[in-house]
Amino acid sequence: MHFDIAMGGLIALYVFMLAGFAGWVIIGNVPAILHTPLMSGSNFVHGIVVVGGVFALLNANNALEQAIGFFTVLLGAGNAAGGYAVTDRMLAMFKTSGSRAKPHHGHGKVHHLKKS
């Protein structure tokens, strides 16, 4: 094993450790009321796997790899887009008693729904 690869592995462990710690602290501060959007939001975040899928598919050099790569990108893109769509929808619903009366500026759709 080369020295630079060993260092790479060790630095990777540092990245994992720090990211895990950051995630734990950040998520620990999220109130229970937001746990569902938090979960779908973190769903969305692991949709970044689509980037790895694109890399793998672009480097595919036979039909089997192309097929797996195609489904990898398909699933990853679905994960990211769907996770974003549901999280954004849910978060738009959370209102306080005070903010309910205020008009929802810049959101034609919401207005329309309220009228009907």
């Binding site: 994992f16 995630g23 569902t36 975040v45 796997v49 890399f55 480097n59 893109a77 929808r89």
Partner: protein, 482 residues
């Protein structure tokens, strides 16, 4: 890898994405800033995805001849997967959110497993450490994918009952060990120089077959009410698999995003297990419903049903009401009618609050989202620790489609399987109404002593139908007075 303009751009875009993910998630710690949080994270995702197409400038020599086809495949896959999931995500009912989260966990897990598969089939990983990490990423991704599909099927009602058979845990253990053994052989076989018996691709296929099978078998026996834990676990698993793939592909953005999600999922898993007073291994490896059948518990007395209209009128003239929603409310799609009823009570000067148990519903926070959807302001919604002391000074506790989370046996009966689980003290209110489909035990199979208490009355029926009757009764009063 030689640093070129394209690889540098990809690297910087991924760095930006990692930062925006963390910053966006940080903004999720308050309902006020949370909507901007997801949008910030969305910008990061778009940057990373757009930059990923710059990989065309640094593909392997062996893939050069396939490049045009591969780019076309990537664009089609992204369009089909992304646009399809976007429209489904925009339209799906809020009550179906647990299924959707399960599906997204499965998709992410499948993608992570797919990346590991390509790396393995193409023999792109070298050295014990890298090969082991790839296999681990593949294993976790595959388990998360097939397990999430089963979780989805359960949550969506496709699979109605947990599948349990004798010796199930042993069978599951054997499948898991077989998968590990095949994985070990993939690493060690070629190194030892021994004959591989089967060609390498066959071993890799076998490895994924066994791990997918294990995910299915592990999830089949788990019951519906344990789903908050299961969904959290698969969320953590998928994050972890993505993080490990990031290591294999030397992509720090995947490593960071995956690990943050892994930590988030782990935290939620532990929170959910704590709210059930059970360990995570207990949830996964114990057939809870089966063990609980031995404890029927003898409770004296009878359940006393009342008319929905009487209960509604009683609440109209109460000073304070606390509402405890559970899965039954979601199943009956009763959240809109509930808030309509609550607005009538508020107009009559009743103090109304909602008390949410951490494991109410089928995923963490599901009740909060349903109430938010109906338009309930979140300052009326309280979590267990913040409201539990207030039941004693409350006139009416209205329990809707919840059972085990208000069972006083958790406090008092040491022989009860749910003993020690934190519960909402609805029984301490002066009057308790329980809206329930019919007589019967909760998911745990334990008799709920609350239903037989002198201060408790049952309102039988579908939650939505009962709430409509309550609304009519209270409206009728208003019309009579005017």
């Amino acid at each position: 890898m030689v640093i070129t303009f394209s690889t540098l751009t990809i690297g910087l875009a991924n760095l930006l994405a990692a930062f925006l993910f963390l910053f966006g998630l940080k903004r999720m710690s308050s309902p006020v800033t949370a909507p901007s949080g997801i949008r910030i994270a969305g910008v990061g995702m778009i940057a990373a995805v757009l930059a990923s197409f710059l990989y065309v400038f640094s593909v392997d020599a062996s893939a050069q001849s396939h490049l045009l086809v591969n780019v076309a495949l990537a664009l089609v896959a992204m369009a089909v997967g992304g646009v399809g999931a976007w429209f489904v995500g925009r339209k799906v009912a809020m009550t179906a959110m647990p299924q959707m989260v399960a599906i997204y966990n499965g998709m992410g897990g499948g993608a992570a497993g797919g990346i590991a598969a390509i790396e393995l089939f193409g023999s792109r990983t070298h050295g014990v450490a890298q090969l082991a990490v790839t296999l681990l990423g593949g294993l976790i991704g595959a388990v998360s994918m097939s397990g999430s599909v089963i979780a989805w099927a359960k949550l969506d009602g496709v699979l109605k009952k947990p599948l349990r058979f004798k010796g199930q845990q042993i069978a599951n253990g054997l499948v898991f060990l077989a998968g590990i053994a095949v994985g070990g052989w993939i690493i060690l076989g070629p190194m030892s120089g021994a004959a591989m018996i089967l060609p390498m691709p066959t071993w890799i296929t076998l490895f994924f077959g066994l791990t997918l099978l294990f995910g299915i078998m592990m999830t089949l026996p788990i019951g519906g009410a344990d789903m908050p834990v299961v969904i959290s676990i698969y969320n953590a698993f998928t994050g972890l698999a993505v993080g490990l793939d990031g290591f294999v592909l030397q992509n720090p953005a995947l490593m960071i995003a995956g690990m943050v999600v892994g930590a988030a999922g782990l935290l939620l898993t532990l929170l959910m297990a704590k709210a059930m007073n059970r360990s995570v291994t207990n949830v996964i490896f114990t057939n809870f419903g089966a063990t609980a059948k031995a404890h029927h518990g003898a409770v004296k007395g009878t359940e006393r049903p009342v008319e929905a209209s009487d209960a509604g009128i009683k609440m109209r003239y109460a000073a304070s009401v606390i509402i405890v929603p559970g899965y039954g409310l979601a199943a009956a799609q009763g959240q809109q009618k509930l808030y309509e009823f609550v607005k009538l009570l508020l107009a009559a000067g009743v103090k109304v609050r909602f008390a949410i148990h951490p494991v109410a519903g089928r995923m963490p926070g599901q009740m909060d989202v349903l109430l938010a959807e109906a338009g309930v302001p979140y300052d009326m919604i309280f979590q267990l620790d913040d409201i539990n002391a207030d039941f004693a000074t409350t006139d009416v506790a209205l329990v809707i489609g919840a059972n085990d989370v208000v069972n006083p046996a958790a406090r008092t009966d040491k022989s009860s399987p749910i003993f020690g689980m934190p519960i909402l003290n609805a029984d301490k209110a002066k009057q308790v109404y329980v809206i329930k489909r019919g007589q019967g035990k909760g998911y745990s199979g334990v008799v709920n002593g609350l239903f037989y208490e002198p201060n408790c009355n049952m309102v039988y029926g579908d939650a939505q139908a009962v709430l409509i009757k309550m609304i009519e009764a209270v409206r009728g009063l208003g019309a009579a007075a005017a």
